[in-house]
Symmetry: D3
Subunit: 287 residues, 6 copies
C-alpha cells in the first residue's frame, strides 16, 4: 500500500472526526434550491463550504480555542429527489429527527432557506420552549408565495407556527412586503437593518432557553457575501456577524443552520469562506 | 406625452409582432430548472435570450430572408410555482394545447429539458405521425433518475412513449449510461457525436412528416456554448449547428424548443446569442 | 388571446405606472459613455438597473412606505447618436425641458456623469435658487479635460456655472487634482471622504431650497459598488448611503440622477441593485 | 545605478525596436470606441495586446522565421479627445499620413472599426490601385447608422468611396441588413461565412496589387475570440485565420489594422493573445 | 449510525476502487507549479479534475465500455514542500518508482509539465525501449530556461535524455524558439500544429513498444481549454483530441500524465471536464 | 521622428522619475509566489499595481500633497529563477543592500510575504534599533511550514530573529495556529482583528525609531481586497487602512513593502487599486 501520499480533502469539513457515536454535533449538507425565485445555485454550497474550510486555521483567535479537540461528525449530503419539494422536506425532517434522537446537535448547511422549516419542526418537538434566532436580510414571513405555502419566502412564517408566540428573534431585516412587517409587529421580535446593537440588547432574554439559530448569509452586505441568491445592499459587515457569533457560546444552542450561500455567484469564494468561518466558530462554541 | 424617447427592449424577442391572432408561431418562455442535478440556472434563459436578440440583425444571410415580415407573437414567460414539478408541467402542457388549438406553432424557450415532455405530448396528440428531432450531448433516455420518472435525464424516454417507434432522431449524443444506448438500439435513431453527417443522410426520411424539433444547447461544444448546466466536451461547432438549422425550412415543423441555456455560467453571453440566432433562423423558416 | 402567461419584466422600473400625464416623476435612461477615459460601459446601466429592480420589494422598511401607490412614469431610454457628444447633450436637455414644462420631476439614470450638466442647466433655469447635492469620489471640477470643456471630469465645474456661488454641496470626495480642491475652497461646499457626518450637518442649510441631487455611484466604496468606471478605494458603505438617502424626503427635490454604474464590471450585479434600491427610496420619497 | 533589475514590459509590442528611422513598419494604438452601439471596451485593446504579446515566442513555426531581426517601431497610443469623433479621426489620419510620408508601413491596433476609414483614405491616396481585404462577421456597409455617416457600422461603405469599384474583398461575413448585401452584389467581392476557401481562390487576383488588410477580430467565432463588442456565433476557428494570415507575405502589404478586440469581455485573454499572434505573423511577413 | 446520507464526492476520481493491491493503474495528483513563468494555478488541477469527473457518466460511447468494472486506485495528492523544486521532483520520482515496482501503471495529474521528467526517468528505467507521445502547443525542448535546467520549458529536453534517439513523438506543436525546432529536427519526431493527421500516420510505428503518454492540455485550442497557464491560439478541437485518445487502447501504455490544467483561469470548468473525460477514456483503455 | 503620439504607460509607477541618483526612494517589483500554499498568482501584482496606478490622481486629498514633486525611481521587476527559493531570496537581499548602500529607501511590491525576510535582514543590519510594523490577517509566526523554515507562513518569525525583542508590532491579526499566538505573547506586540484603535495607541512608542512597514493586503477584508491568496473574512475596511497610512509620515520610515496582492483573483481590480493608492500615500509621505 502506497504510504507517502494522502487525500488532502476528504470532502468533509475541517477537523471533522471519524466517529459518529462519540460526536456531540452532526453536520449535514442539504443541496436543495428548488423553490428559489431569483438566482438558484445554493445546492453547491455544502460541498464548497467544506472545501474552503481547509483555507482556515483550526484555531479561533476570537474564542481562543481550537477545533482540534472538538467532537463532531460530518455526515455528508442528503440524497434529495431533485425537484420534489415535499419528499425532500420529509427526508430533511427525518435526518433531523435521527440526530436529535441520538442526543446530538444538528448542524445543517443549505441549500435554500426553506430547509429550516422541517428541522425546526423536529427541534421544537423536542424543546417546546425553543427560541429561534434568525439572521437575514429578508423577513421570510409571507403566508404564501406564488400560492405555495412552502417556499424560501414563507419559511419563517412556518417556523412561527412551530414555536411559541414571540419566540422568534429577527436581526438585520431590510426587505419584505408590508404584510410581513405587520405580522412581525404582532408575533416576532424583529430588528431592522442593524444586527450588533439589537442582538446585544436581547442577550439576557435568550440565555437559559434552548436556542435554534438560522443564518441566511444575505444578512451580511453583498460586498462581504456576494455569493447568494437574492443579494440585498445595506447589510452588516463580516466583522459584525463574526462578533455576534462569538457570543453564541453563552447560549444553549440545540440546533443550527447556515443557508443561501450560492458559490456560483462568487468567483472570489469569500462568501463560502465566511460561512465556513462562522461554522468553525459555532462548532468550537457548542462542541 | 413624451415623444422622443423609447423603450428599446420591451422584453420581447427581436421583431415579435403585437398581434397574437395574426401570428403563425407563438414564443413562450419556461423559467423552470427544478429537476436539474448539476448546475441550475436555465430559468434565466428566456429573458436573456430575448435581451441579446437585439444584438443580432433581422436579416439572415444564411436564408437570405428577414424576420421583419414574419408574423409571430412573444407571449412572455409562464408563471410557474417554483419547486412544484407536476403543477409546472401541467401549466406548460395547457399552454401548448391552447397554442395548438389556435392553429399556431408553439416555440418554447427553456428552462430545463424536461419541459419538452408535456409539449410533445400535446403536439403528438394533434399529429399522430409526428417525428421528433433531438439535438443533444446526452441521450436523456433513462427510465428513472434518482427514482423520479420526470427528470431532465428521462425526458426523451417519456417522449418516446408519446410517439411511434423509431420516430425519434437523435444527433450529437456523446454521453449516457449503458442502458440508454441499448434502449436506443431498439427504439430510436441515435447518432453518436457527429451532427452534420447523419442529419443530411436522414433528410429524406423526415421530409413530409410533421416534425417537432428540440435542441439542447449542449449538443454544441462547451467552447461555443459554455453557458449550460451539464457541459460535455467533444461537441459540434456553432457553424455546424447553424448549417443544420438552415435546412429546417425543408420540413413541416409543427413545434420547436431550445433548452438548457444557462446564462449565469456564460459571462460572454455567446451561448444566449447562439440560441437567439438559432431561434431567428427557425422563425424565419417556419413563419 | 393567450390568458395565463405574462411578460415578467416589461423593461420598465419596478412599479412604474402606465400613465405619463398623472405621473409626478419621470424616469429616463441615458445610455451615454463617450467621454469616459478609463473603463466605458455605463451605457448598459439604465437597462440593467431596471432589470434588477425586480429583485427588490415594493416596500421600503427604511421609509415604512411603498412604491405601489406612487405615481411615476418610466419613459425608457433616449435615442442617442453614438459618439456625438454635442447632439447627445442637446437631446438630454430637451428631455429635461419637456418634463419640467409638464410640471414633473425628472429622474435620470446614466450613463456617464456628463449628462448631469444639460439637466441641471434646465432645472436651474426653472429654479434660480437651486442647490445641488453631489455625492461622488471625484471632485469633477476641472475646467477642461484633454482640452475638452465637456467631459465627465469637468461636469460639476459646468454645473457651478449654472447655479449660485456655493450652492453646490459635495460629499465623499477623495480624488482630484490640486486645482479642483483650490477651486472648491472658493466656490463650493466640499466635504472630503466622509458622507454621513457632513451631510447631517448641512441638513438645515438645504431644507427649503429647491434641490437637485446627483449621485455618482463611485461615492460608495468599490467593495459595495465594484461596477463603475473609475473605482476609488476608501469610500462609504452601502448602509451609509442608504441612511443618507432616507433623509431626502425632508427636501424639496426637483430633479435627480444616478450615474456611472457600469454593469459590465460587476458580475455580482450588486452595484446595479444598490442603484435600484436608492432609486426606489428616492421615488417613494418624492412621489 | 541599479544594475540587476529590469522593466520587463516597457509597454511596447514584443521585440519592437528602439529606432523609428530604421523601422520598416510602425505600430500605433488607437484607444477609440465612441461610436460603438453594443458593448464598448475596445479602447483597452492596444495596451492589452502589447502586454500579452510577451506570452508568445519571437519565432513563428508557421513562417519558420523570427521577429528578432525585424525592424519595426511601436509608437504607442494616440492621444484622443474622448468623445470627439471628428477630431479623433483627424488625428488618426494625420498619424497615417506621417508614417506613409516617411516611407513606412502603418500598423494600427484598434479600437473600434471606424478607425480604418481615415487610415485607408491616406493609404489609397498614396496607392490608387489599392485593394482592401476585409475580414469581419459584419458587412459594415450601411450608408448611415442612427443617422450618422461615420460609425463602426458604416466604415467599409466609406472605405469603398476611397478605392476603386470591386477592390474590396470581404471574408467571413455573416451579419448585416438586406441593403448591405445588395450593395455588396454591385460593389464589393463579398464572401459569406467561410474564410479559408474563398480567400485561397482570390489569392491570384490580389497578388501584385498594393494591399491594405483590416481584420475585425469578430470574423473568428466567439468561442475563439469572446472579447469583442458584437460577437456573432458561426465564425471560423483560430486555426483558420492563422492559416489565412500565413499567406499574407505573398502580398504587397502597404497597411494593416486589427480592430474590435475588447479585453474587458474576455477574462481568459485569449482574444488579445490571438490578436497579438496575428500581429506577430504580419510583422514577420512584411518587415 | 446515520444510515440515509452519504458523502457524494469522496475527493477521488469517478469510480476509483478502494483496493490498491488489486488495481491495475494508480492515479496520483501533483499540485506543483513553482517553475511556471506566466500564469500559475495548475496546482489546483488534481482536486478540480476529480471533482468535475462526477459530472460525467461512467460509460464511454467512444469506446463502448464502462469505468465501472475497471480496477484503478486513486492515491490522492502528493505532499510537496511548496517552493522546493528538487525535493518535490524527488518525491514524484519515488511515487512513480513504487507504483512501477508494484507492477501497476502510474497515472499522474499535474501540476506543471516539469513533473513528467522524474516520472519518465523511472518508467524508462523499467522499459528501455520506451516511446514517449507528447501532445502540446509548446516544444518544451530548451536546454535551460532562465539558467535553470529544470523547468516546464525544458522538460521534454530532459525526457529526451532518458529515452532513445527519436523515441519522442510530438504533436500539435505551434510555439517555441528557433533552437528547439532545430533540436527537434535531429532528435525527435515533431509534428507542427495538426494532431489527428500525423498521429494516425504514426500509429504503426508506435504499436508494440511500451508507450508513455503526456498530454499538456494546451495542445487543445484555448477556446476548448481556456484554463491553462500559457494559452496558445491555433490548437486542435476537443473532438480532435478525443478521437486521438480513442486509439490509445491499441498501444501498450505503461504510464500517463495530463498536465497544465489551471482551473483558476476557467470559470466554466470545461478545461477540467475535458481533462477528466480524457482521463476516463485512458482508464477504460488501459485497465 | 513621430511627434504626436506617446506611450501612455511606460510600465512604471505613476509619476516615477527618470533619475535613480536623485531619488529618495526606489520601487522594486518581486514577482515571486513559489512557497504559497493556497492560491498562487501574486507574481502578477507588481505589473498590475503599476498599471492601475494611472487610474489614480497625483494629488492626495488625505495628505494635501502631490506625487508630482516627489523624487522616487521605479527600477522594475527583479529577474527571479522561477521555483528556486534560495536563489530568489539572495537576489532580493542584494537588491535591498544596494539601495540601502546608496542611501535610499527601498520600496518593494510583492509577490508573496516571504520576500519581507531578506529585505528586513538588510534593513535591520543598517538600523539595529529598527521597529517593524506588520499589517496582516495572519500571524505568520510559525517556526516551520511543511518542514520548511522559509515560507510565507513563517516569515514574521524569521523577521523576529533579525530585530530586537518586542520590536515587531502586529495589527489586524485574525488567523493562526495556537503556537503563533503563544509566541506572540512573549515576543511581539500583537493586536487582534482591530487595526485603527491599537495603531493609534502605539503611535508614540514608534515615533523616533527607524521603522520598516510591511502590509499584507489581506489585513483588509476580502470585500475590499478580494484579490489575495488566502482571503480571511472579518478584516478592516479600505477607509480604515487609508486612515492608518495617513499617519505614516509621522514616522522615520526606512523601508516598506506591500505584498500578497493577487490580481488573477480580482476581476474588478480594486485590490490592485487599493495597493496603488496606499503606495501613493507612502511615497508622498516619505519622499
Amino acid at each position: 500500500m502506497l504510504g507517502f501520499s494522502r487525500l488532502v480533502n476528504q470532502g468533509r469539513f475541517l477537523q471533522a472526526k471519524d466517529d459518529y457515536d462519540e460526536s456531540r454535533a452532526v453536520i449535514i449538507g442539504v443541496p436543495m434550491d428548488f423553490t428559489v425565485s431569483f438566482r438558484p445555485g445554493t445546492r453547491m454550497a455544502p460541498r464548497k463550504i467544506r472545501e474552503v474550510s481547509y483555507g482556515l486555521e483550526d484555531f479561533s483567535p476570537y474564542l481562543q480555542d481550537t477545533l482540534q479537540n472538538k467532537s463532531f461528525y460530518d455526515a455528508g449530503d442528503l440524497d434529495l429527489p431533485y425537484g420534489n419539494v415535499t419528499k425532500s422536506l420529509d427526508i430533511i425532517e427525518q435526518a433531523a429527527e435521527i440526530i436529535l434522537n441520538d442526543g446530538k446537535i444538528p448542524i445543517f448547511i443549505g441549500g435554500e432557506h426553506l430547509i429550516t422549516y422541517p428541522i425546526v419542526r423536529q427541534v421544537a418537538k423536542k424543546y417546546p420552549e425553543l427560541k429561534v434566532l434568525h439572521f437575514d436580510a429578508h423577513a421570510d414571513l409571507r403566508d404564501t408565495f406564488f400560492d405555495e405555502k412552502l417556499s424560501h419566502a414563507t419559511v419563517m412564517r412556518r417556523v412561527c407556527e412551530c414555536i411559541k408566540e414571540r419566540h422568534l428573534y429577527q436581526y438585520g431585516i431590510r426587505s419584505g412586503v408590508k404584510e410581513e412587517f405587520e405580522y412581525a409587529k404582532g408575533h416576532t421580535n424583529m430588528n431592522l437593518i442593524d444586527v450588533k446593537g439589537p442582538f446585544s440588547e436581547n442577550l439576557e432574554q435568550i440565555k437559559g432557553y434552548p436556542v435554534y439559530i438560522t443564518i441566511d448569509i444575505d444578512v451580511v452586505d453583498p460586498a462581504f457575501a456576494p455569493g447568494t441568491g437574492t443579494p440585498e445592499p445595506g447589510g452588516c459587515s463580516s466583522q459584525d456577524i463574526l462578533e455576534v457569533v462569538s457570543h453564541f457560546r453563552q447560549f444553549n444552542v440545540v440546533g443550527f443552520d447556515i443557508v443561501e450561500v450560492s458559490p456560483l455567484s462568487d468567483f472570489s469564494e469569500r462568501t463560502s469562506l465566511l460561512a465556513a468561518k462562522i461554522l468553525r466558530e459555532v462548532l468550537i462554541s457548542i462542541c
